[in-house]
């Protein structure tokens, strides 16, 4: 969990960005009216033109504009402003400091650095979400390396880098560490390709580092390459505010960590990995009672075979952390230690127990104190009974995620429509839900649609595929229909269970704000997908697997694909022929056909991954990927 507020799907590239970049061509080529931006001390010339100031009647207005634009932070607003006229376009480009690239292949790094010259924060996202579930070949792409070198050259003053689902190597991290002397913030989410050497480079060379967050990234140790990166931080007081490394699967030098924490007075967020024991956590809490966000590490006595001294008063250590609002970790939880967190429960707004096997009773002992809880992630080991306890106490709950302990398809699971409905009754302010279960009824889903009208994110995963409502034996169409009908703010939807085209008709008719839609093992005919493509004008990300949608459906979205971040369709009924037609009809679309299991030129398409691009198809695709144009 990254933030202390509900995670909504807020990335959307406005359609205008395509047009405004095209306009950039025009602007750059006609240099008739170029002038400097007056009055700003620029951190280097970048690639902007420098010409003698020409006296224009609206010079004052220009200065005002640029001053005002500085205050525009939302990229949507900035995209809109950049379309007004050429001077606004240029002014906006010079004043944009935060860059967001939703798809690393939508454009080349050089295009970015040419347009925006004074960027100090860059976010880049790579692979589509379904790559997390092993649906994409591992060497597919999304390498950070070309971006690293381009950014290193263009923005030596870069302070923040935020990457998601990219392949980042140790060399890339070393380049980052070497190139940006004022570097402050590195956040890697769902990335892989790097190890402790890369972390050591960043820790050692980025003396001004404030934030180092590794979230659900794969960091494994190869024995001969393992480096004690914690020891690489500067020996004097550090500026560290956030250190998150709960996904790092290597032991760390605890002494060095304790010393680091002791000399980091501004540290507010600390998330430890499973190699930190309860006793060690205790010591760290004493060093850093000012923490607001804590990942507890193993939450057990992990020294195998070793003996531990007399139990310290863990509860007192937690109690001393008066500012703690967010707790996570519990990677190897020893439930006897749970009472240690009781003193902080009353202040918690966010609690992540999703790596902890706790049963209903254990959960109750904790949750009954958590009146302020807004974000709660948990395993279904708490059962419906546990969910009822949550519903009874957490009246302010905004985000709930219930993960399965046993992800196999079965008939009975520990959570069901009973707990689900209880949540909807008790937590009326719910905005985001992700719920894995083995059974669900339409009635419960309808109830939630009515009880929780503020829902923005609704993701229900009935693990058994094609499961109808167990009570009525009907498809789940009505339940999901009620969600799109009644939850007027809904932007993200994931469907499951037995679904006919009717469900998609509902989505197309009522889901006007839906931006992200995930579909699996659902639908009957092309008509279903057509409803969605024709009915949802805000659709940005559409990911579909194992559903009977074919060429006709694909063609029905031609009017909309340029507005989207991507379309993913795997194991559907697409033919290569139809994809070829689309590629020809839409020149700025890149259609990647990936056939993992069949031959390269097979007629059927296993995976279609389609996205817009300003700079044509990429050149780093592996053999398994065929790019149609």
């Amino acid at each position: 969990m990254r933030e202390n507020h509900p995670s909504t799907n807020s990335e959307d590239d406005h359609r205008s960005s395509l047009l405004d970049l095209a306009r950039a061509e025009i602007t750059e080529s006609s240099n008739s009216k170029s002038r400097t931006c007056g009055g700003f001390p620029g951190p280097g010339s970048g690639s902007g033109p420098s010409e003698p100031q020409a006296p224009f009647p609206d010079q004052v207005l220009e200065n005002v504009l640029e001053n005002v634009l500085h205050f525009l932070s939302s990229r949507r607003d900035r995209n809109a402003a950049s379309l007004v006229c050429r001077s606004w376009y240029r002014a906006e480009a010079l004043t944009r400091s935060e860059l967001f690239i939703g798809n690393c292949y939508a454009l080349s790094p050089t295009r970015v650095t040419a347009r925006f010259t004074r960027v100090n924060s860059v976010t880049v996202k790579g692979k589509p979400r379904f790559a997390d579930f092993d649906l994409m070949p591992p060497n597919w792409g999304a390498h950070f390396a070309p971006w690293a070198s381009a950014l290193a050259q263009a923005y030596p003053w870069l302070e923040k880098l935020h990457l998601k689902r990219m392949i980042v190597t140790d060399a890339d991290l070393a380049l980052v560490a070497d190139s940006f002397s004022g570097f402050r913030e590195l956040i890697l989410v769902c990335c892989d390709g790097f190890g402790t050497p890369g972390l050591a480079a960043v820790a050692g060379k980025c003396r001004l580092l404030r934030v180092l967050e590794l979230v659900e990234s794969v960091v494994e140790a190869e024995d001969d390459e393992e480096v004690d990166w914690i020891s690489c931080f500067p020996e004097s007081q550090t500026n560290m505010e956030s250190l998150v490394f709960d996904c790092v699967e290597c032991p760390i030098n605890f002494q060095a960590l304790e010393s680091l924490v002791a000399r980091s007075p501004r540290l507010k967020k600390l998330r430890l990995n499973g190699f930190v024991s309860m006793a060690q956590l205790y010591r760290l809490l004493h060093r850093a009672p000012q923490l607001t966000h804590l990942g507890t590490g193993s939450f057990s006595a992990t020294e195998a075979g070793a003996v531990v001294d007399q139990e310290p008063d863990y509860a007192a250590a937690f109690e001393a952390c008066k500012s703690l609002v967010c707790l996570s970790g519990f990677r190897e939880i020893w439930a006897d230690y749970l009472p240690a967190i009781y003193p902080v429960c009353a202040n918690l707004t966010s609690l992540n127990l999703s790596y902890a096997h706790v049963n209903a009773d254990q959960l109750k002992s904790v949750i009954r104190h958590c009146h302020k809880l807004q974000i709660f992630w948990v395993l279904d080991s708490i059962r419906d009974e546990g969910l009822q306890a949550v519903a009874a106490t957490c009246k302010d709950l905004r985000e709930l995620r219930v993960f399965p302990v046993d992800a196999r398809e079965g008939t009975d699971g520990p959570v069901s429509e009973v707990g689900f409905e209880a949540i909807s009754q008790g937590c009326r302010k719910l905005e985001s839900i992700l719920f894995f279960c083995q059974r669900m009824t339409n009635a419960a889903v309808v109830a939630m649609s009515k009880n929780c009208p503020d829902l923005v994110v609704f993701r229900l995963c009935i693990i058994g595929r094609y499961r109808p409502d167990p009570v009525t034996q009907e498809p789940m169409d009505e339940g999901f229909g009620a969600i799109v009908m009644n939850c007027k703010k809904l932007t993200r939807l994931a469907v499951s269970g037995l679904l006919t085209d009717r469900a998609f008709e509902y989505i197309g008719r009522y889901g006007k704000l839906v931006r992200t839609l995930s579909v699996a093992f659902a639908g009957d005919t092309d008509t279903g997908l057509k409803y969605v493509l024709e009915g949802c004008p805000n659709l940005q990300k559409l990911e579909i697997r194992d559903s009977p949608f074919g060429d006709g459906a694909l063609r029905s979205g031609l009017h909309h694909y340029y507005n989207m971040r991507f379309l993913w369709m795997s194991t559907c009924k697409l033919t290569r022929q139809a994809c070829q037609e689309v590629a020809q009809a839409l020149p700025n679309m890149v259609l990647e056909v990936i056939n993992v299991n069949s031959e390269e030129n097979a007629g059927d398409v296993e995976i279609l991954y389609m996205y817009r691009s300003l700079d044509g198809p990429r050149d780093d695709a592996p053999r398994i990927v065929t790019i149609l144009h």
Binding site: F130, F133, V218, V307, E311, V405, P414, I463, R465, Y466
Partner: protein, 306 residues
Amino acid sequence: MTYACSHKHNNIIIEEDTTKGGSYSHKEKHFQRGETKTVHLFPFYIYSAAKLRQFIDKPKMATMMAKEHGLNLKETELCLGLPGGGGGGGGGGGGGASEQVETPRATGKRGFSETVDLKLNLQAKEDLNDNLKNVSKEKTLLKDPAKPPAKAQVVGWPPVRSYRKNMMAPKASTEDVAEKTTSSTASAAFVKVSMDGAPYLRKVDLTMYKSYKDLSDALAKMFSSFTMGNYGAQGMIDFMNESKLMDLLNSSEYVPTYEDKDGDWMLVGDVPWEMFVESCKRLRIMKGSEAIGLAPRAMEKCKSRS
């Protein structure tokens, strides 16, 4: 030759222990699927009826046969009896062994003139439950013959990140994960160790040791005044030698005791090692003279019989 039974108490209440969260599920850790565990009743070990009942898999009761053991134990009386009704029904969710009571509360003694060779044939519960799941899955499929047949394992479904699945994998191996006991990962068994007079507490992971000797050595290292002088070569109290035992218990030597799952304090060494690991909740090293209160009531029985 007679031997004594470790006394517990006469009220052995055996019932489904749901409050402790399936505390008997531990035992499955120690037995591989299909492995047969034979528990022989040697005179060096003292069993209590309750203890052994924990390890009898109810469904297998019917297969247990009373056999004569190699040792001449025909005349021994054993505080163990099979429930009168024979094999039990389903072993019970989290527990398995002694939840179902088909006979009235057991008294300490049963009339059972022959020894019992207990074959513990613990079939993994997963097999049974998998069968159930396959049946129900087929039912679902029949409802919708138009849908493609479900494969056993679908790539990337359900959409749980591999990262998270890997975290869960070791723990999802038993069926009753939801009732999993509180205090363990799959492998560790941490217990507190205290010694009378010592100002500190220690904690050990019993699964790190293979025998009583290993444990004794470790304890000796931790608590330097705890010596094993009076212990036999196997590092445990020789229960059989009554006089030695009484000497020990009358002395100021320290003896290790433990609290078992039922909350009773016992002398360490009275049950086989694996059984001890499973049932021990905490250890306490106390003076022999204090431990005499824990000495098996059977000691009296020993006396009374000889």
